[in-house]
Structure formats: structure tokens, C-alpha cells
Symmetry: C2
Subunit: 123 residues, 2 copies
Amino acid sequence: MSKRAMILFAHGARAASWAAPFERLRGMTQARLPDVDVSLAFLELMSPRLPERVDQLAAEGVVDIALVPVFLGQGGHVLRDLPVMVEELKAKYPQIRFTVATAVGEAPEVLNAMADYCAGALS
Amino acid sequence: MSKRAMILFAHGARAASWAAPFERLRGMTQARLPDVDVSLAFLELMSPRLPERVDQLAAEGVVDIALVPVFLGQGGHVLRDLPVMVEELKAKYPQIRFTVATAVGEAPEVLNAMADYCAGALS
């Protein structure tokens, strides 16, 4: 079993359909990182929540968890809620190294792909 | 003045910092579509709201508005709130042609760029 993990951290929503692109993103990221356990976790409304997912990974002996916020903007959820949760998780699991990436929506290549898509949406 | 417009429709947030990547996306899309008026509008918490922005464009004589939901997933906001707003806008402005694109987060190229970014976030 892999001892490294990546959690794609997303908001969550009431509509189950909302999660579809996140599931695809998880699969595509997993394909790029075959030796890493890549999973989704949510802030609210969907399961697993982030602390629950970390509990599972800790129980599996994972010692390194990379968190990637799958958010378009860095608002309160990424700037306030997530750091609080990560501090609590670090205190609970001092043996695990946690890293937190910048939100995907801030990445220039992602913005570039979004701009291409928007421009192409003109009919 | 351009008679075609594109509105990048985003959620909105309390933190002003949240809008930064959307402003960049607007600029990048505008650069790709120099003959189109590209602007942002929000569902809530930020200005302008979508109906307000359409009012402005209608007053400027715009006859074609392409709406692109800048959302990662197609949840209730995209599947329910947006169509209701668009129907109201179509009734209010029958002279304007409205088109609504699929949410940016559903676009394969965008997901691909996000997966690349996630994979690269492993330190």
C-alpha cells in the first residue's frame, strides 16, 4: 500500500452531478501519479469530509499527504477554513507531513486552458 | 461599440481576493476576443450580478450575449439558478440572443490542465 497520498480538496454540493468533473480529475491525476493514493475530500455537503479522509489515510500508515484545493478562487474556504483544518490535522497526526498547494484556479496553465475554452464558447 | 458580448458568470465570494483569477481569466479571454465585450458577472456576494450586467449591455445595444459559467462542477447554481435567470432575461430582452456554454470545469482541456497541475503539486 502506498505511503504517500494526495487529496484533491473540493467544496462539495447538494447535486450529485456536481462531483462528476472532480471524479474525472481524480482519475486523471491518479493516472499521472500511479504510486500515490489520489482521492477526493470535501469541505461540506459531500463525503468524505477532509478530516475523515485523513483519518482513513492515517490508519493506512500514510506519512505524506499533499493537499490540492480544487477551487477556482482563493476565498474564505481556501484562505481560512482549510488552514484551520490542516492545523488541527497536523496536531492530531504529527507523524504525517502535510503540504498544501495553491488553488488549481490560480495556476497559469489552468487559467490559460480556461481562457481558450471561454474564447471557443463564442458561437 | 461592440454589439457582441461574453459574460463570464462566476459564483462570487465575500473575500475580494477570491475574484483575482476571474479578473485574470477575463483579461486573457478578452485578449483572445478583441472584438467582443468580455466581462464578469456574479451569482451573489459580488457586483455586478448577472441581470445587472445584462441590463448594462442591453442599454449599450448589444444583441448577442454568450454566457460562460466559470464553475468547476455543474451543481444547482449552473443547473437550476442560471437557467431561471436566463429565461427571465430572454423574456425581458427578446431582441438579444443568449447562449449558455457548458461550465468551464467540464471542458476536457481544462480538466487536463488541472490534472497536470495537481500531479505537479507533489513535492
